[in-house]
Symmetry: D3
Subunit: 303 residues, 6 copies
């Protein structure tokens, strides 16, 4: 490398940062980098997976007689990191370090106490996948190989952190799954047990979506928002319920798009590539053909 004038570029980048900070009102903030670490959370997720499913996702040399040691130790490492990361997230809005740590401890302790229940729900997800896919040969194949299970483990953990007021940790954990599986579930979404997402690439589930028990979803399904509301200043209104409600036992085939705060009634079936912006009755079967043949129920589209 010859004669790069690094200092010119360094200066140029500093000016660009200064302008950005000025535009964001951050010039006074001199306290260093205060963002949770994607790498740390990735390690933590591997540890939590091992603690939840020690013989299948944990350390290879493990034997049943030593499971509890492994679980206890792995858990204590994972929770310790989570407390640190939670401190970073909470610390961005608070100033007293002591209080931040106490709040972080309370949140992660609360999180940790729900882990046994979370394992039971994930077992139901695994069971649902095994029963829902003729290609699945065993529950273990499902746990080891199905991206939909990875997505559910991440989501169920992320969602609990989200409800404990740690949305940034939750979002990073969700995005780790999105990157690995192509399944993009916002941590705010509420998903009941025995959910099975097959193949999964391209699935998008929005922040305020609510999904009942035993729902089956295929690749490229979107549960999205129809339109975004703005306030009087033209800014987006954040936090509005704007995604679908999917009741128990619904099946949504690949490529279907459901938009807005609509309800898919219990046990209904949404065909592939179908575009839905209105409620669907319980038990109804909606396909592209049925839509075309029912002129009294014209499809509606977002703008």
């Amino acid at each position: 490398m010859n004669h790069f004038d690094i200092s010119d570029i360094v200066n140029g980048l500093r000016l660009a940062r200064d302008d950005w900070r000025q535009s964001q009102d951050r010039l006074r903030d001199t306290e260093g980098r205060e963002f949770p670490s994607r790498i740390a959370l990735n390690t933590t997720m591997e540890q939590l997976k091992g603690a939840l499913f020690p013989m299948r996702l944990g350390s290879p040399e493990l034997r049943r007689e030593n499971e509890d040691y492994y679980v206890g130790y792995t858990l204590s490492k994972a929770l310790s990191t989570l407390v640190d990361q939670a401190c970073i997230e909470l610390g961005r809005h608070h100033t007293v370090a002591e209080q931040v740590r106490e709040q972080a401890c309370i949140a992660i302790r609360s999180f940790s106490e729900t882990l046994p229940e979370l394992r039971r729900i994930l077992d139901m997800d695994v069971q649902a996948a095994y029963q829902g896919d003729p290609a699945a040969r065993s529950v273990d194949e499902v746990l080891l190989c199905y991206p939909g299970i990875v997505a559910m483990i991440h989501h169920r953990i992320a969602h609990r952190l989200y409800t404990l007021e740690l949305p940034l940790l939750a979002r990073i954990i969700a995005e780790l799954a999105h990157s690995q599986t192509g399944i993009d579930i916002h941590p705010g979404a509420q998903i009941s047990e025995a959910c099975f997402i097959d193949h999964g690439t391209g699935v998008v589930i929005g922040e305020t979506a609510i999904i009942g028990q035993r729902v089956r979803i295929y690749q490229a399904v979107t549960l999205g928002a129809k339109r975004f509301l703005k306030d009087e200043h033209g800014h987006l209104q954040k936090g509005q319920a704007r995604h679908p409600i999917v009741e128990d036992d619904v099946v949504i085939y690949a490529g279907a798009t459901i938009l807005g705060r609509v309800t898919l009634g219990q046990g209904c079936i949404i065909g592939g590539n179908v575009w839905i912006t209105d409620d669907v009755r319980p038990g109804q079967v909606v396909t592209q053909a049925s839509l075309l043949q029912d002129p009294s129920k014209p499809p509606s589209y977002p703008n």
Copy 2:
């Protein structure tokens, strides 16, 4: 981290595991973790890629005069790991360690003998990609950068292991490619040479699909099952032929969905986003427009 009552959580998780094991009839199994390792197979795949394409995917400091040493050594490491992993998969259903190892050796030896032929087929895939994409500047760019090639290398290896009765190894290898490329090919699928999958994200190819020579497939194409048959007990019938047959020289554009045991006849062209659940004649061009304009051939949809 203050005062986590780890032992309560450890106990809760043990109870959840016990319940799961009881539900799966596994209480007696005390032999430790017996699942193939995703990490080990990932390393093995990198080694096999290096042995197949030493100058392009192998060790950077390699020179032609030393290729064979590299290939031989890398191969022996990869095959050794494969035998170990095959023992783990086979051992789950057998009890005599000696026999398991012998069976694993036979399978992997058989696998290894087909590697030269596999390289020749992959060369045809590379050539097909180069000829099929105007953006491709060289065969090397294709091998280095095209996710479709990654998917084909993984699939062709996974498929051989699948036919050698190692479906779990095969599935993990397929899922490694799915995670990296967004292309989800079940290792059971039979794909002839010179197959080119472009862009690839969202492609799903099912377990019993059969694909001929020189087929071109774009992103988000599904070759899926139309419906799942259940036996008299309401359980899914596993192993039925339920995915499409794609004959030679077919092109399937992005987003097309072909469902069920239909046949796409030689040289036919399936337009983007088209939804197909019936046979297509050789040479036929099927688009959304053609479907709408041919009332004698109403589109059918899955339920």
Copy 3:
């Protein structure tokens, strides 16, 4: 591992390589592996991200008072690697090492000088994402968690290398983002500032696409080619303008497919799953409904 006849497989693989090389006229090339390294470029991209956004994507222990040292040092490592990798790419077509290195230095120096401007453009992308998504809670969440931002950072860097005649480096960098995000942008595409790709999985943007300012794109959108021109020998014509032009302030909803050298006029809105192969007027709103209801403007399809 017992009694693998490695030498037979090694010989078989050598014969396969020899045949390939003969078919590609490469028998004389004895100079070793001369391809850029995906691993090296991945590290370089992490360094460039750190140099561009030190407090958010850089080293965790960083503090503002030391930012410039970090930026300068990280940059010098990244640029040094880029020069080496550029030498490898350029060296494949040239023979005089001295000239190759000089050319590589000129290219990377030119690249480096645009980094401050690139940071400013990426800030606009971040701002656009924050303003465009009601689920985004802060600009920092956008930078840390949004795959669309990862894709834009990679693309803007890859595009500059592409215009500096380093298309292979550019392609690898683009594919690194594709693998991580499911967003496949060819480095040749020209994208103006404040571009926001939400969710992103399955997005494909072709080599000759041109995208204006403040464009918003959702998952599974394709900006593709309609058909490939062939020359008199039946070979694909490479380098032709064959992808859409998207003007300023356009919004393209999920799953829309726009094919060919068409123009989406300023401020128009393309609904979800819509299939477009003709120009769209500025301000026009195109949905599946509008297409069905406007018989004077029949949809056209590719063959």
Copy 4:
């Protein structure tokens, strides 16, 4: 690298190996590499140190409330590796894999049961170092910083493996300490509790040495053999008692050399650089001066 004729060197090395194997009667041994791994044993030693002293040598994030989980899990990993390594050592002389593993398990189980006692003895070593060195500020400094403690931990573990008929594992563990500290204790040596080796570099303690309680030894002290006995064929007689016996409360200053099966009586003091090949009475003070001044007790030297 240009034009190395690697194959000539490979051939030359193979011939050299063949000659060696012929000279060692090993031509038939085709079972692969069967030697314990220095790297594996190094990792195991770190784990055992952590299990023995969790809060000081174990994982940094550890807290007392989780100690037992850490100890149990770390121990189970260490013991698992020890069993594997013991199988390798024992397998070199046996043929039935089943029996080898059973024998290895028995040995390592026996080893594991003495760990609590071993910790108590090491605590006495630490206490002795703290009391014996005016520069030591705390028992923790001793445990963290004193090479003599590293040597004692390794030796006490190695010695138990040595008495359990695993001399090769023992030797590797001893050599790991030698390399790190310069203290070379043969695992056969018997050393009672509260032993303190200060500075340590150059200390050599032979295979059949016996050392009492509360002995203090400084750098470069040798407890060696005076001469080696040969049998009628001129081969060294192995396993003979040939190193000193050091009784309780002896102090040996730096550079002293004690050779042969002599006894240093209880509480005697051996001055620096002194050369001893005869018994020393309890309580006696031996210095270079005292040796020179006592003509009735001429110093003897080895040949």
Copy 5:
């Protein structure tokens, strides 16, 4: 690994720890592991070496034009770790976290300000080694290969931390050098510039030793204590001046032992293996022969 009763061993180890803690009055201490990390300090030392000698011990890709960026960034990482580690050391004796960190910052800031001077002194050490060894071919060989230089870099850094009331950090840094070089210098020792220790294995320099300028020391030299003073309770008196004073321009050949608070006068020469417990006059040459031939000056020995 079969049927280890890990829980018995875990219990046994817990009891051993409890007894130890009771004996050390530590039962109440529940605040976790609070010891500086050898691994962290090893990394820090590599960083400090790089910051002090960037082109020779720093990052390989470095060029002069970027040295300052490297130095500034590397330094900021090293100092940040040092502050953390200092907090751990200081925190063992204090309770208010705020004050501990402030004190740590003051100490490390003070340390950092002397680094330029420290580099100048080390340059003199390098120069002295080059001039003192006929085998040295260049000053760079000295810096890259001479263990004596490693020992001096560690010592000069450790000594400053020692004087800043961080004796545990200092001791660990000293022991890192001891382990690598066999040279054991207590961080309390005061060593003036242009000191050259050749070969070095076995050198021991005690806590209160004072060494002048341009002193040359060979392997296995001891500058030790003659005897340890005890107080009325029989405990060692810590902190007493008890090691030699070596004036400017002294040479001490291999294996010489100098014990007690004696003074080696300016420019004197101490022969190999000589044993000294009294003052040596300036300019005097002391050898084993001279000692034997000077009956008026009988050698004295420690008890």
Copy 6:
């Protein structure tokens, strides 16, 4: 870390560097860091050890049938690195890159051709150690555990590089062994086959020493220079023969010091701690006692 004024320290360090460079006449040298890498050479040494002793020091999963692949590949990596490092060393004194690389290739090719012979010599060293130590239980224990063998492997490789005019590479390789074993052999020393250094800590063998066949050396033996000759300017004369000649079958016990260009005659025995500065006759036994009792041969000492 608060408010370190890093820039002041950076400036201070720059000034110190500038002064050093001025004193060394190096201000014009702007070509970056040009020193061989200790880390790279450490890796290379591990590779060479594996290539020389594949089944014992090479990759654990190796089997005899694949040895040659491993040897060939490992060797090609090691030699490639050696050429690069040799270029760095040679490049410090030459300017034309082309010539430097050619010279480096010639040297390393010459080095590589002697590797088979080197393996045979090392086999003799191993055999000598096994026969010379009653504690050795097998030739494999010797190869795996004896620091003297590590030292001989490093020395024999370093010496060949030294004779090929690569003294800096040689020195670094020697120092790697010194750091690990405490045995400090200058790469210039000439050592014949079947050399056994037992325990080894503190052994120093000087640059111009010559050692015959079947020599046995114990810990802390010095083969050093008696005095250093200076030229008329008072500078040390470098390169003079100044270390001992040790003829065949000599044994030198621990702590013996032999200084100057003296000859230890064939088969002589040098007792422990003996100090020698004159020739020793073949077959002579020299002990401290014999020296004291032979007044006609007064011991001489260096000044």
